[in-house]
């Protein structure tokens, strides 16, 4: 969605001519929002396109001086705002931000904000968040295992913070129903190695998306 720099008009002889017209601040801002499409996560592309379409639709002479700021994602928030006291434009931006707060940044399905590694927040659905949450749980499990305090802090058998690790272990047949993951505060050597392999697999999946 682009705007031509000029306006095409028809001359007295019937030929089309172009007159150079200066872009208004409104349109310049929209051009900037357009150029930042790549900064927006894939799951938000649809709502970002809808936001720009709505802004184009409400353009009028009285809104020419309006300037839009932002057009990027940071820490799970969509930053698009304006200082203009225009209720309609403010409403469009507010609704876009609210919709982004409950839309998965990766797949566009309904999601919620989650805290991930390094306190980074992302809006993700259950499916897309699973690899990252699993990575966090494994890292925590290995850290507690190294301290030898697994049974004091949490037992992966029962604790909700290690639920995904348990599910992954059962899916691979690594742990049967009668097995426990913890013995005397430590993982077994075999299980520890398997957990590390799982961590590498999950991290590869996160990076490559495959």
């Amino acid at each position: 969605m682009t705007i031509s720099d000029g306006i095409q008009s028809t001359g007295t002889d019937g030929t089309a001519t172009e007159k150079p017209v200066a872009l208004t601040p409104f349109h310049q801002s929209l051009e900037r929002l357009n150029s930042r499409v790549e900064w927006i996560p894939t799951g938000w592309q649809a709502l970002y396109a809808e936001l720009r379409l709505r802004l184009y639709a409400v353009f009028c002479e009285g809104r020419e001086p309006i300037v839009f700021l932002g057009g990027y994602e940071e820490d799970g928030h969509l930053f698009v705002e304006t200082h203009a006291p225009d209720f309609v434009v403010q409403g469009i931006l507010r609704k876009a931000r609210a919709k982004a707060a409950c839309t998965c940044m990766e797949c566009g399905q309904p999601g919620k904000r989650r805290e991930l590694e390094d306190w980074r927040e992302m809006v993700l659905c259950g499916t897309c968040s699973a690899p990252r949450l699993l990575q966090l749980q494994i890292q925590r499990l290995l850290a507690l295992d190294q301290c030898g305090t697994l049974h004091d802090a949490c037992d992966p058998l029962m604790h909700p913070d290690a639920r995904l690790v348990r599910e992954a272990a059962e899916a691979c047949g690594q742990v049967r129903k009668e097995h426990r993951l913890v013995l005397a505060g430590k993982l077994s050597n075999e299980l520890r190695e398997w957990v590390k392999r799982l961590l590498a697999h999950v991290q590869f999946r996160i990076v490559t998306g495959h």
Binding site: G126, A130, D155, L157, A168, C172, E178, A184, N189, H201
Partner: protein, 380 residues
């Protein structure tokens, strides 16, 4: 984990999506090409190999163990039994020899998988309070080193056919322990539980001793129909049950036939009843009482589906029917007790087969008992 009933529907759906994605991710993990066992020199120097941990064999270290009896006391009882009359020594010697072969160390149950518990909870939605209680105790047990788990005595009180006995069996299955059922309605003496002295010709160990003669020290003992115990002789084993239900007194339980003190404090007692008013107060205070109501609404639908699935798993003829019950058939069955649902489904399947169908229709389901047309006329 799964079990918190305070999770909203959205949170549960979110967790289900996460679990499905994780399971798919784990299933795609490439297998290890190298040998599974790694040489010790690859282990960190501060990490001792598993063989140094207590109970180092693969099977043994998965279960916590406790001592059922003292070896010296068993030897004393064996010597005593060999001095009995031949007709009296038979049962006693056999029981004591078997106990010696199994050894003094026995397994204690640990909680099963969270996935299986979710299925149990879904199959018995009207037992939500009991499930929450068991789950909290399981989490508590999991916070300790060896996760040894014991359900405190619980009493499931509810109308007939609501699924109390079936739930107890499924719970024992989740724990992976055997279950012994004691019909309290037919229990006229205490001998069946606590054994009969070997001086009698029919003297033999009781059900408590038999339940502990296996690899498990924490079997589930189901006291069915606790409110129906016979009062004909005035001695129905209640006094001994009172001692067995308290862990402090149950650690030194002696079977009347064998006289060997065993630790019966890890037995998991589940009792069922229809009316708690006919149960002694002393007995009632030793149980955590849960009132089970008839399932309603969504619970009723879940119970109907659960009963149908159990029927398909148990009966070969039921597997010929589709896995999913038609919605109009399910609606007809909602509101009945689990027993009535099972009976109605069996009847409905028979009606369908007689008509040459393998699919249930609403007309196949018999009416609920007691809902027939009333006769007109003067009532006596």
């Amino acid at each position: 984990m799964s079990g918190c009933s305070a999770m909203s529907l959205g949170a549960r759906q979110d967790l289900a999506l996460q679990i499905a994605a994780v399971r798919e991710l784990a299933a795609r993990m490439p297998p290890v090409e190298e040998a599974n066992e790694q040489p010790d020199d690859l282990l960190p120097p501060h990490r001792a190999p598993d063989s140094d941990l207590p109970g180092s064999s693969v099977n043994e270290r998965t279960w916590p163990h406790r001592t059922l009896f003292v070896e010296e006391e068993l030897q004393q009882r064996l010597e005593w039994a060999r001095g009995l009359r031949p007709d009296a020594a038979g049962n006693v010697l056999r029981a004591l020899e078997r106990a010696r072969e199994l050894g003094a160390e026995r397994r204690i149950a640990v909680p099963g998988s969270s996935k299986d518990f979710d299925q149990l909870r879904a199959s018995f939605p009207h037992f939500g309070e009991v499930c929450d209680f068991v789950w909290r105790r399981a989490v508590l047990a999991g916070s300790a080193g060896d996760c040894a788990f014991r359900i405190p005595p619980i009493l499931l009180n509810g109308p007939p056919g609501v699924g109390k006995t079936e739930f107890a069996q499924r719970l024992a299955g989740w724990l992976g322990t055997p279950m012994t059922r004691v019909d309290m309605g037919g229990l006229d003496t205490s001998f069946k539980l606590t054994g009969l002295d070997s001086g009698y010709s029919t003297g033999r160990p009781g059900a408590i001793w038999d339940a502990l003669q296996g690899p498990w020290m924490s079997p589930v003992v189901l006291l069915d129909e606790l409110d129906k115990r016979s009062n004909s002789t005035g001695d129905s084993g209640v006094a001994f049950l009172l001692a067995l239900l308290e862990p402090s007194t149950a650690t030194r339980f002696e079977d009347s036939c064998l006289g060997l003190a065993i630790n019966a404090s890890w037995i998991q007692w589940i009792a069922t009843s229809n009316d708690t008013s006919s149960i002694d107060t002393a007995m009632l205070t030793r149980f955590r009482v849960f009132n089970i109501n008839e399932p309603t609404g969504d619970e009723g639908r879940a119970v109907v589906e659960s009963v149908f699935n159990a029927l398909r798993n148990r009966e070969a003829w039921a597997q010929a029917f589709p896995e999913q019950l038609p919605g109009h058939v399910t609606r007809q069955l909602v509101g009945r007790s689990a027993r009535e649902v099972r009976q109605a489904l069996e009847e409905a399947c028979a009606n369908a087969v007689i008509c040459g169908r393998r699919e249930l229709q609403p007309g196949d389901v018999p009416p609920r008992p007691g809902t027939g047309r009333k006769r007109m006329g003067f009532t006596p």
